[in-house]
Amino acid sequence: MSNVPGELKYTKSHEWVRVEGDGTAVIGITDHAQAALGDLVFVETPEVGATLAAGDACAVVESVKAASDVYSPLSGEVTEANAGLADAPEAVNQDPYGEGWIMRLKLDDPSAVDGMMSAADYESGLED
């Protein structure tokens, strides 16, 4: 059973969002997504300073067999990317909601988060 922390928001394409008090949000891929991809060998993180619209492909997670896009759940500017993933992509497998975060976004509209899926919605989507 996948771990789906209750305090986070989710997308159908298996990204999670943690809203911080300062108008930024930390984004990564879910435990379910990392398990489905298998052992990651490389994570291509976005360029700091890039402007993203919700739904833009912003990162690539690569396993031995496949490379998949990560989509930005919200619009905003990338203020930070997880540089640690360059040497330790396995952090996404081991700790998808912690050390395995992918980027931090300064949100254009922090209230857009309210329209995202709750943990309960995401979890019921996984069961379908």
Partner: protein
């Protein structure tokens, strides 16, 4: 690895299993009107015996001319063992083997090829080849745009005298993908990229700079200065190389302060015979930092559960069978058979042999230009350092001279008047290690005679 076609009964069994009457039935959804039963204007099939006769007669029309043309493809000696081994059944495939357990020999060969290419270029990784030199330039430019994320312009500067065919092919492949190629000026006096034309790009966003070394005119560019200039402006450097020349010249990985980022070029000089433009193969090597943007896959050496050495395809997750439209390239295959020949060729020559080929070619070209420029009305244009090609200027048009020489079974060189009109009646000549003193003398005396038939212009 045997390739055995399906027998009639195999096919019957498969059709029965899926409940189809015939193979034709599988194509039922294609409307009758779109089907072509016969091809117009195609003659009846001929027997193998008849075909051999026709092809021998046609091959005979080529003659066996003395070749002094370079311009991107070179007439080097190929040891007999190269193609004897390359065409063995175990190697005889153009494709990368996917089934590692059945293809260790071929995989090991590609691993050796990649090792040799990284050693020649001074870079970290090499792919398993592309189609040819021209497509390798296009792929390198596309790769640079993906790799240089700081640059948003997709502008590619091309240093002075790059092979004009490479530039046209690169524009055809990458032009519609948003890339702009801009040619830097050529200093007709030196045959080198004009450094003064760089000034207008000082403040511009440039994605990459393409530098051919030796350049199309056979001259040696100041690659250190050009590389440092490009890097100082955040542009990547794409080196277009001749692998034989790398036996003598500084490898791209050592150009300037930090080296070129990508090296590409035509692999034909390594064991592939001249053949009406192909099949040849393209070289592509790069720094490890860019490996995930490199088209193609690499072969890695590893150990199995019992500790035995084994070879396997790796790093193919970015290819089109997995990434579809987001793949690093829509060219998914390579020139495996040509790479096999090149690898065997290099292993037979060794580093020292390759160096001797390069040095002999330089010496022969010098002999050739000295001999020809001794003729009235012929001058050697450049005194700048060069490799195994040189530009001669005539006091009369080059095209009729070349036609007259061809009538005497001599391919006199590459006519530059169309691509480089600023050079006047100019001819690019090359004498590889295969040309003897007698060959050069034969060319000089034939040229002296045919010049009498063409008026000074």
């Amino acid at each position: 690895m045997p390739f055995i076609p399906h027998t009639e009964s195999d096919i019957r069994e498969m059709l029965d299993a899926i409940g189809a009457e015939s193979i034709g039935q599988l194509f039922d959804e294609i409307p009758e009107s779109l089907r072509l039963e016969d091809l117009d204007g195609v003659p009846e099939a001929v027997s193998e015996m008849e075909l051999q006769r026709i092809m021998r007669a046609r091959a005979g029309q080529d003659g066996a001319p003395l070749c002094f043309i370079g311009a991107g493809a070179y007439d080097h000696h190929i040891p007999a063992a190269v193609w004897e081994l390359t065409t063995r059944g175990e190697f005889y495939s153009a494709y990368t083997p996917y089934q590692a357990e059945a293809s260790q020999g071929t995989l090991q060969l590609i691993y050796e090829y990649q090792t040799m290419m990284t050693s020649l270029t001074g870079l970290d990784v090499s792919n398993a080849s592309l189609y040819d030199g021209a497509t390798s330039v296009a792929e390198s430019a596309l790769m640079a745009v993906r790799a240089n994320r700081r640059s948003k312009s997709a502008r590619i500067l091309v240093a002075g005298a790059v092979n004009p065919v490479y530039l046209r092919v690169a524009e055809a492949i990458a032009g519609n993908q948003g890339l702009n190629f801009e040619l830097l000026g050529l200093d007709a006096g030196t045959g080198l990229t004009d450094p003064s034309t760089l000034a207008r790009y000082e403040e511009e966003d440039i994605t990459a700079v393409v530098i051919q070394q030796p350049n199309f005119l056979g001259r040696l560019e100041d690659v250190d200065a050009l590389t440092d200039w490009a890097h100082a402006r955040g542009a990547l450097v794409i080196a277009v190389i001749n692998p034989v020349a790398l036996a003598l010249l500084k490898p791209p990985g050592e150009w300037g302060e930090s080296g070129a980022d990508i090296a590409c070029g035509e692999g034909q000089p390594l064991g592939v015979p001249l053949s009406s433009g192909g099949p040849y193969f393209g070289i592509l090597a790069c720094r490890k930092a860019h490996v995930r943007q490199m088209p193609g896959r690499i072969v890695g050496r590893t150990v199995d559960l019992e500790g035995r050495t084994g070879y396997t395809l790796t790093l193919q997750a970015r290819e089109q069978h997995i990434r579809r439209t987001k793949a690093t390239s829509n060219i998914c295959t390579n020139q495996g058979l040509m790479v096999t020949a090149a690898t065997i060729h290099m292993s037979l020559l060794g580093a020292e042999g390759l160096e001797r080929v390069a040095a002999a070619s330089v010496a022969n070209t010098r002999k050739l230009t000295e001999r020809l420029s001794a003729l009235e009305g012929v001058e050697c244009v450049y005194a700048t350092p060069g490799f195994h090609e040189a530009v001669l200027r005539f006091d009369r048009p080059v095209t009729p001279l070349l036609e007259a020489l061809a009538g005497r079974d001599i391919l006199g060189g590459y006519d530059l008047s169309e691509d480089f009109p600023e050079l006047g009646h100019a001819l690019l000549v090359c004498a590889t290690e295969t040309r003897t003193d007698e060959d050069i003398e034969a060319y000089a005396s034939a040229l002296a005679e045919v010049m009498l038939t063409v008026k000074v212009a």
